[in-house]
Symmetry: C2
Subunit: 334 residues, 2 copies
């Protein structure tokens, strides 16, 4: 077989805050030979995740990427060579293939084989980590009941837009927090929120009181920070707060301060719980199935924010944190 | 029936911080006539609770006592006159009879009729709110498994000493936080903690690391504040934090600040949940039964801190907050 050239993105330094282009370098390398027990995948779509910032931080983190490594990423690609029985050339797969054109991996790196008639790139977004995070955390921690009020931060984002729609389909009153007129419009028109608050221009406290007259039963939080502090004040008795991300706080070392939550949690008998999808991979397929059904039932729509070419990847994490994306951020490789 | 004189303690002002003698007045009144559907109880033991501070605060509280009212309290007493079928003269009862010698109440004020051979005053402590709070919150929120590490703040107190012993009986490693050499001794000798930390004299962070090499699986917190902040740093993956009280923070209005917990909860996939026993009265009897069995099995011992006479009640809440009591604080009326 001819030697393939592989462009890949390696981590060259740890960011102190949000990862940017200077923390990565694009290098051209030969694709390694495929050994027995391995599979060669050609990547077609690469994912960009807020969690990448955590993977690159060295403090208090649960899954670090090391300097020198190809940047970790979920990707959708096609198997072009296989030495194992589970896969053969032509299979579409989603898995941990990294920010690169080609990946030689063990079968364990594949999260799922993609079949069916939905677009393959969805398995990186609404049918991937984003959607499965939304569905799993909302169900297992939020456990919303019909008629309850569900507030979502980053309401137009990959996870948030999915949470809002799943809660709406369950019969909840949904309230989204977002940051631009364009996102407000998408939240109302596409993601069908009952109320949308622009936290950059609206009076958040008053808007929340108006939108949640009986308080907040479920708060799905991807942000932390001042906006969350305001939502916490409106918790209903028995509220559930899902801590799924902390995007609004750029540094956790040293630990920043904020309003103490203990008395709020006590008087409202509320629960705050951290969620990381990797603890719930045993139910991954179950929730993908639920999400596929929701898409087919037209209860769940999605947006993708696609750029073309590997060279657009290194700056993409910072874009996420600047709130510039609308929908799932993907890189398309041609 | 002759008119009875009733000494009672009425609330005359709201405290700004911890309630003290100046917020109460002892007044002598005639016992009201017992109307149809009512019961007259002569109090024998009155309870003093940390929660009384919350009942007297007017901000963010779930169950306020109004100025002018007899101070709310659970009591154990004897029915001396009854117009209802459920009770008759001579019955021992525990219920909401207030800081006074005599109470005329509806049957709904009675929490339970006391039978059996255990001392009646226990139904205000280890078999009352304290014990049932400990048993219910530990079971429903903490859900400790054998071999896990359970940390208890106010380890020698009415609730804490019960939590420590119940967790120990379940096969957990128990670590108590307390404040005086006398309490440290009681924690080791009577309440059988595996490790006890004197937070006033020990290096809490290092002592916790030594006592909890695998981290803290369950933190039963009655205090909030700096000590809790240190414990939170040691949470294990999947930890459960029970917010049962906030005794170390004297004012919640305005909301005090402290280290933000969101990232900790996320990276440890931990849960923090407020607990108020009044949400769980449907299981009250069940947990009293468990506690009675634990006492008879010698898995559960207790201390009472008793003073004599109604006039010792008004200053007793402040004593609790000064950490002067060891065991359940009670007032005996002769």
């Amino acid at each position: 077989m001819k030697t393939l050239n592989n462009e890949c993105i390696r981590v060259v330094s740890r960011p102190t805050g949000i990862p940017s282009t200077e923390n990565f370098r694009i290098v051209a390398e030969a694709v390694p030979a495929v050994a027995a027990g391995q599979v060669l995948v050609r990547n077609e779509w690469l994912s960009v995740e807020p969690a990448m910032r955590g993977w690159l931080a060295d403090a208090n983190n649960y899954a670090s990427v090391q300097v020198g490594e190809v940047m970790r990423s979920l990707c959708v690609g096609t198997v072009i060579e296989s030495t194992v029985d589970e896969f053969r050339a032509g299979d579409r797969v989603m898995g941990w293939f990294g920010w690169q054109q080609y990946a030689v991996v063990e079968p364990g790196a594949v999260v799922q084989k993609i079949t069916g008639d939905l677009p393959p790139s969805l398995y990186l977004g609404v049918l991937g980590l984003n959607g499965v995070t939304a569905a799993t955390a909302l169900d297992k921690i939020g456990a919303p009941k019909p008629g309850e009020t569900v507030v979502v931060s980053t309401a137009a984002g990959g996870v948030g837009s999915c949470v809002g729609q799943l809660a709406k389909a369950l019969g909840c009153r949904t309230v989204g927090l977002t940051s631009t007129p364009e996102k407000v419009k998408a939240c109302y028109e596409q993601f069908k929120y009952d109320h949308v608050i622009n936290y950059k221009t609206d009076d958040i406290e008053q808007s929340l009181k108006d939108a949640c007259p009986d308080g907040v039963d479920v708060y799905f939080d991807n942000t932390s920070g001042a906006i969350s502090d305001t939502v916490m004040q409106q918790l209903a008795i028995g509220a559930r707060v899902i801590i799924c991300g902390t995007a609004s706080i750029q540094k956790w070392d040293p630990q920043p301060t904020g309003p103490r939550v203990e008395r709020l949690l006590l008087t409202r008998r509320a629960r705050m719980q951290g969620f990381i999808l990797f603890d719930h991979m045993d139910t991954y397929g179950f929730y993908v199935g639920q999400l596929e059904a929701a898409i087919k039932a037209k209860d769940l729509t999605y947006r993708e924010h696609l750029t073309e070419g590997l060279e657009t990847a290194p700056g993409a994490i910072a874009e996420l944190y600047r709130g510039e994306n609308l929908g799932k951020r993907l890189i398309r490789l041609s």
